[in-house]
């Protein structure tokens, strides 16, 4: 067991899979010699050499297209798109190619690749380098979508993603890179499609993803200490496949549902989950489900404004307290 940063966990996760399987290759902008703009891939070039760890031009379509062609013909590429906002310039591959090739070809074409990307706010980068765009990918048939919140999950879910036969979009949260967590020694392999109850509780279920997980835990601690409200926090971890059993099970016990989403409100992932719960667990609920989200705005750069935009522990505490009191 060792303490590792989320950032170092990325490099360890990639290294674990590259050491295991010679078909795993890694490409992206500034990922090799520079070790990544977030320093999340430091050391990989030295360990695996320039044939397997490759710097690319600023050509996001070429990066994702090349990853797909390699995946179709026998490699297991990991491609990095530096900021998830840049998905918009290579969205053809995400929306039209990766997830449709198997279906359109009646199962002839496979696409086992992983796209890693820096997602989310907190760096004061403004509206084009701060977005949470996991919901852009969640809506596309054929893709799998995961977003780890801890260093251990980074390694385990990345390993699961690399070993998965389907295209996986892997959202790393930029504001989590410096955070630390306990990580076991040796190989770590998790499974896609499992949520985790990170804090058991009786009175309400709070669903969160990525950066929102530590904020939900902090809120739950305060709700318990200051208001005597015992919340269960569920780290959703994987949007596709979605672990609805864990979510529905939690709601069946607590009878209240809150989602904490960094994505802007319209069509955020929480809306889909609330819809599932309304369909399938309506009579388990003692009150209306509540979505706590970033407003439907482009993100501002100024720290004071960005902090106002994102859900934080205080807002979560307030919404849960108010909702349970009514």
């Amino acid at each position: 067991m060792a303490e590792l940063t989320y950032r170092d966990a990325v490099a360890r996760g990639i290294a674990q899979e590259m050491a295991r399987d010679p078909d795993v290759v890694f490409l992206g902008e500034d990922v090799a010699k520079a070790g990544g703009v977030f320093k999340a891939t430091v050391g990989l070039l030295e360990q695996f050499g320039p044939i397997r760890v490759r710097d690319t031009p600023i050509s996001e379509q070429a990066i994702l297209g090349a990853a797909m062609g390699a995946a179709m013909t026998g490699l297991k590429p990991i491609a990095e798109i530096m900021f998830s906002d840049f998905f918009a310039v290579c969205f053809d591959y995400i929306a039209n190619e990766f997830g449709k090739s198997r279906y359109m070809t009646n199962g002839q074409v496979k696409c086992p690749l992983v796209v890693r990307t820096g997602n989310g706010a907190g760096s004061r980068f403004g509206a084009q380098h701060s977005q949470s765009v996991e919901n852009w990918c969640m809506m596309i048939p054929g893709l799998k979508v995961v977003a780890p919140s801890t260093p251990r999950d980074v390694i385990g879910l990345l390993a699961a993603a690399v070993r998965d036969p389907d295209p996986v979009i892997f959202f790393e949260h930029k504001s989590l890179y410096p955070t630390k967590g306990e990580v076991p020694d040796g190989e770590i392999v998790d499974s896609l499609g499992s949520a985790r109850i990170v804090r058991p509780g009786r009175d309400a279920t709070i669903l969160a993803l990525a950066l929102m997980v530590p904020r939900a835990i902090a809120a739950a601690d305060r709700l318990n200490a200051e208001h005597g409200i015992d919340c269960e926090v569920v780290d959703v971890r994987s949007l596709v496949p979605l672990d609805t059993q864990t979510i529905l099970g939690s709601v069946a016990r607590t009878h209240r549902l809150f989602t904490v989403e960094e994505n802007p409100r319209l069509c955020g992932w929480g809306a889909e989950i609330v819809s599932i719960v309304a369909d399938e667990a309506f009579y388990d609920l003692d009150g209306p489900p509540v979505r706590i989200t970033t407003p439907h705005i482009p993100l501002p750069a100024a720290d004071i404004l960005e902090d106002l935009a994102l859900p934080n522990a205080e807002r979560i505490v307030e919404r849960v307290r108010r909702s349970l009191a009514s």
């Binding site: 397997r52 690319t56 070429a62 797909m68 086992p112």
Partner: protein
């Protein structure tokens, strides 16, 4: 080199580098593409081909020449105008027409349609309906060959209109920097869709004039002469297999029909189609076979054989069942299904 290479300059003779057997094969492929696509058009008029279709009538020499020069294991990446390239790799006519007719005997059982013909077993790694998307994908397949030390070449076909989209330029640069074994084939048929390519392109030759920007040789050939195409293809494949990197080849050709089935091509200047029909690739290739002293009987036999196969395929497709409802949700994910939740 500003003028395209022509057959005359390469001095063909029946016992030259191509030879009689290969010429008969090149003719047979071209004739099959023509017959199969004419049939597709006829079936469309009978409302038996559904959806859209984009024919390569008039462009057969490009598909035949590049396919004939390939080895088994080489990979083709096509556009939505991909029937000819698919057939040229040896995919049976029945499976192609079946897909166009959206029947259960189609290449993809009706799940892909005319614009997405794919036969991995034949090295046809897909037909892509988003302009430019498959150029980077072909780079990736070529990267795999380079990485694994395999000798196959990835060959990527596209139209003149593709040269104005970003993915074209990203892929050309990427392939050149990584020295990938990929061959980019631009079929310049003079029209992007409905608009003349010259009206919307900064240079006269949309692919060849851009080659220098990526450190590549400027290659422009007569795309209506299968001999010329075959030789250009063989040279580019050899270069790729030798680890010498990508090629970009502009083939001058012309489509005899409109952009898609919805397009009567009324925008063409009067006489243009007729002028190009004088240079119909199948007509000029047949004349060459005769010039070389190949017996008329041998040519007629090839033609009769193709016609018989296209007729048989048509009849099979007409009576083939529609796709069963249970395949609607199969093969979304690798486990065969479409489940996104537990």
């Amino acid at each position: 080199m500003n003028k395209p290479t022509t057959a005359a300059e390469t001095r063909p003779g029946i016992n030259d580098d191509i030879g009689e057997a290969l010429r008969l094969r090149l003719y047979g492929i071209q004739f099959e593409l023509r017959e199969a696509e004419q049939r597709a058009f006829d079936l469309f008029l009978q409302n038996l081909v559904k959806g859209t279709s984009h024919l390569s009538l008039g462009q057969e020499a490009v598909a035949a020449g590049f396919a004939a020069a390939m080895r088994p294991g080489d990979l083709s990446f096509c556009t939505y105008r991909g029937h000819a390239h698919t057939l040229a790799r040896g995919v049976p006519v029945e499976q192609v027409l079946g897909e166009l007719m959206q029947r259960d005997n189609g290449l993809m059982r009706g799940k892909g349609g005319s614009m997405h013909l794919t036969s991995v077993d034949h090295g046809v790694m897909g037909s892509y309906a988003i302009i430019g998307a498959h150029l980077p994908i072909a780079c990736g397949a070529a990267w795999r060959a380079q990485y694994k030390g395999q000798k196959d070449v990835s060959v990527c076909f596209f139209g003149d209109g593709t040269t104005n989209i970003g993915a074209f330029h990203e892929a050309l640069n990427f392939a050149a920097v990584w020295k990938l074994p990929v061959v980019f084939v631009c079929e310049n048929n003079l029209y992007m869709e409905y608009t003349p390519i010259g009206d919307v392109t900064a240079v006269a030759h949309p692919a060849a004039d851009r080659a220098a920007a990526y450190g590549l040789e400027r290659i422009m050939i007569d795309g209506n002469d299968a001999d010329v195409v075959y030789r250009a293809a063989a040279r580019a494949y050899e270069k790729a297999r030798a680890g010498q990197g990508p090629s970009l080849i502009e083939c001058l050709t012309y489509r005899h029909s409109g952009h898609s089935r919805a397009d009567p091509a009324k925008y063409r200047p009067e006489g243009e189609l007729e002028k190009w029909k004088e240079r119909d690739p199948i007509k000029i290739y047949r004349q060459r076979l005769v010039q070389f002293g190949i017996a008329e009987d041998a040519i007629i036999k090839i033609e009769a054989d193709v016609k018989r196969r296209v007729d048989e395929a048509t009849e099979k497709c007409k009576v083939a069942p529609m796709p069963p409802p249970d395949i609607l949700t199969t093969d979304v994910y690798a486990n065969g299904g479409f489940a996104w939740r537990n």
